[in-house]
């Protein structure tokens, strides 16, 4: 890896995001709209306070997975990926460049979505708000990392699009949002122990219910961070310089 090339790539990706006003609007507004909708659907019930924080972690994850998959898909179809791989850019430089760029976007996204949930939708959380933001950012970066991994596995555009539901939906079903993970059938509960989104939801739930959540949140964040690095490294290893 070469830090200069990684940062150069991150800055190029940021330029592209910044030039696309609609994507910026989507990244910032969609999570807010979803939170608002959720608060409205569950008004006058305690449900919003229970699942709201968890979704604050899940939405950025899903949105970033999709945006990253599309961005790398375009990199492939435009021929720029082939050109980059013929040049001195390392595969890891490309992966981490994307992760850094989307990570920076995720910080803004998490700040906006969390502020909206708390100040507009009156979301009640027992723990400190900044922990909520940190978890949301890490979840977004996780979405980016898995999006990159998925598109590195894909050999065609068609496959890359198919990976979206395949990577996201099972995690969503098992992450504890629909049924608490300890009440899942044993096999599924064990599987959910290996999926990163489970830890995102665990961490968010801890902040929602505990005044001092760091003891529970810390290990969860560690596991998510390990997944992020593993996905990026695996993505870099899977990406082929030489193709058929």
């Amino acid at each position: 890896m070469n830090p200069r090339l990684t940062l150069l790539t991150a800055s190029r990706v940021l330029q592209q995001i910044r030039a696309d006003h609609r994507t910026v609007a989507l990244l910032l507004i969609v999570p807010c709209v979803l939170m608002g909708l959720l608060a409205w659907v569950f008004q006058d019930t305690p449900v919003f306070d229970q699942v709201g924080p968890a979704l604050l972690g899940v939405f950025p994850f899903v949105v970033m997975f999709i945006v990253t998959s599309i961005a790398t898909l375009r990199e492939r179809t435009s021929g720029t990926l082939e050109r980059l791989l013929a040049g001195p850019l390392g595969k890891a430089d490309l992966m981490f460049g994307y992760a850094i760029a989307f990570g920076l976007v995720a910080i803004i996204q998490a700040l906006v979505a969390t502020a909206f949930a708390i100040y507009v939708c009156d979301l009640d959380v027992a723990g400190p708000v900044w922990v909520l933001v940190v978890i949301a950012v890490l979840d977004a970066v996780l979405g980016t990392a898995l999006g990159l991994l998925a598109s590195a596995f894909a050999h065609t555009e068609f496959q890359a699009v198919q990976f979206m539901p395949a990577f996201i939906l099972p995690q969503f079903l098992l992450c504890g949002l629909l049924v608490a993970r300890d009440r899942l059938p044993d096999v599924l509960s064990t599987i959910s122990d290996f999926l990163p989104l489970s830890y995102a939801v665990d961490a968010m739930s801890a902040v929602a219910s505990q005044v001092e959540p760091l003891g529970d949140v810390g290990p969860d964040l560690g596991i998510i961070a390990a997944w992020v690095v593993a996905a990026l490294v695996l993505g870099a290893l899977t990406l082929r310089r030489r193709t058929d």
Partner: protein
């Protein structure tokens, strides 16, 4: 150092989608020249170029570029590659594109300005690529490679769809680069570009029909232009095949 070969290819075998598209090819591309790779569409020009820059999986043989195995890390900033369809970011400006690709090989804004001037795009440098014509886009793609000042330029049909004046200017630019010691491998499916090359490789169905200077080719085949020479070579090859059977 005396190094007269930019590219040496030996027994190259390439399969794409399970089909043999280059069935064992041998060629030596000299350094410091503009070498044309001419052949009809589907003859394997792009595949051969992909093998030279090291992004094509090969099933056999060796490809040596500037003395090293094609695609090896040390070569990646010494070889510039322009793909057949323009590979640049449509949502970035012309300058941002060229600056990014130049930056990857350690070149700064002087090299960017120079490359933009060379392909006659200085006037639209701050325009987004998506708002350019096809010919302009392919020149952005070319500028992105030129700005890196590579020792070997592999250009896949860089002059297709350009107006005659620009085409002439670009060929002149290629010769100036060769004069400055750079090596160029330039493909085209337009036979009349043959006369603009120092040396010509004629390709058909993944094999080389001829490897000579344009003058030698015309003298050997008795043809008046490259197109006629190409046909002559195909006919003789067919006759020889019949005799062997």
């Amino acid at each position: 150092m005396m190094n007269t070969a930019a590219i040496v290819i030996d027994d190259l075998l390439v399969r794409r989608g399970g089909v043999v598209v280059i069935p064992g090819l041998r060629v030596c591309v000299p350094a410091g020249q503009v070498v044309g790779l001419l052949g009809p569409s589907g003859s394997g020009k792009s595949t051969l170029m992909r093998a030279v820059v090291g992004v094509q999986k090969i099933a056999g043989g060796t490809v040596t570029v500037l003395g090293q195995v094609a695609g090896s890390p040390a070569l990646r900033s010494r070889v510039g590659y322009v793909t057949q369809s323009p590979s640049v970011y449509a949502d970035l400006t012309v300058r941002a594109n060229v600056a990014y690709f130049a930056g990857l090989v350690g070149q700064g804004s002087d090299a960017v300005d120079k490359a933009l001037a060379e392909v006659d795009l200085s006037a639209v440098a701050d325009r987004k690529v998506e708002r350019l014509s096809g010919g302009q886009r392919s020149r952005v793609s070319l500028a992105a490679a030129l700005a890196g000042d590579p020792e070997l330029l592999v250009l896949d049909e860089p002059t297709v769809g350009l107006d005659p004046v620009l085409r002439r200017d670009l060929w002149n630019l290629f010769h100036r680069l060769a004069g400055a010691g750079r090596s160029l491998l330039v493909s085209s499916h337009v036979m009349d570009e043959a006369t603009r090359c120092d040396r010509l490789l004629l390709m058909r169905d993944g094999s080389l029909l001829s490897d000579s200077t344009p003058d030698e080719l015309l003298a050997r085949t008795g043809a008046l232009d490259a197109e006629a020479a190409f046909l002559h070579l195909i006919d003789t090859a067919a006759d020889t095949a019949k005799e062997v059977v």
